[in-house]
Amino acid sequence: MAIEPTTEQTAAFLNRDQDETIVMVNLLKFKDKATYAEGTAEHGEDVSGAAAYMRYGVEVNKILAKIGATPLFAGAAPNMMIGEGDWDMVALVRYPSRAAMIGMTQSAEYQAIHHHREAGLDHQDLVEVTELQAPA
């Protein structure tokens, strides 16, 4: 279970067409309680992991707007209807290019809000997809 890409996963991403539009499918599992690291302003706060991640979500949406990315959907996941996965939320974001996504994660603005993600997120899957024609 992971919250960051491996070196190999990042390298594979960087080896692809950097101009292509992609959608990132986030499958998210939160900690019961947020664990802010020592040294962060929120260290010791008694809030849920979901609440800490929402702080990240609010701020990251502002950055997404600046780089031309579109949050397609975010939804709380109360039920697994098929399969045995265990997720709390699903969020879909369309990035205008791979370069835009990597640029965002390396920006100072993003680094400044990332501690909320680390505090709230237990683990996630992140699936990079390219869009086929919609079924209808």
Binding site: A2, V25, G75, N79, G83, M89, L92, V127, T130, A136
Partner: protein, 138 residues
């Protein structure tokens, strides 16, 4: 454990959930390498990848869903797993005005005809029922 259908408990939990607002059904899909149509299906013996058969199902399902206000938010093929170690081929997200609309789509008169394409093309899947948690723009 790879799954293909809801268990009886999973289906009951979905049907009996009192929440009656919009839902998005997040399908995480793994296709067969080759389609497996059954004897008697018009497509029996076709040599093609499972994703082609599933696309036929998705097209028909999307048409039936549209009659009750359903729409496709995303049909995407996996480029890679960027975080985590899952092994899925595609993600399809369908939005419905409420859960009755989803059940109506499963009960649509065309469903019996379309689901052979799902059977032929799909190896296994997960289906996550979600409630939109940000204002909807479409």
């Amino acid at each position: 454990m790879p799954a293909f259908q809801p268990t009886a408990d999973q289906f009951r939990a979905f049907r009996d959930d009192p929440y009656d607002g919009p839902i998005a059904q997040v399908n995480i899909l793994k296709f067969r390498v080759k389609t497996e149509y059954k004897p008697g299906d018009p497509e029996y013996g076709k040599d093609e990848p499972g994703r082609n058969a599933y696309q036929r199902y998705a097209d028909a399902f999307g048409k039936a869903a549209a009659e009750v206000g359903g729409q496709c938010l995303l049909m995407g093929q996996t480029e890679r797993y960027f975080i985590g170690d899952g092994d899925w081929d595609a993600v399809m997200v369908m939005h419905f005005p409420n859960r009755k609309a989803f059940i109506a789509t499963l009960n649509h008169e065309t469903y019996q005809d379309m689901h052979r394409h799902r059977d032929a093309g799909l190896l296994c899947q997960e289906l996550i029922t979600t409630r939109p948690s940000i204002p909807e723009t479409e």
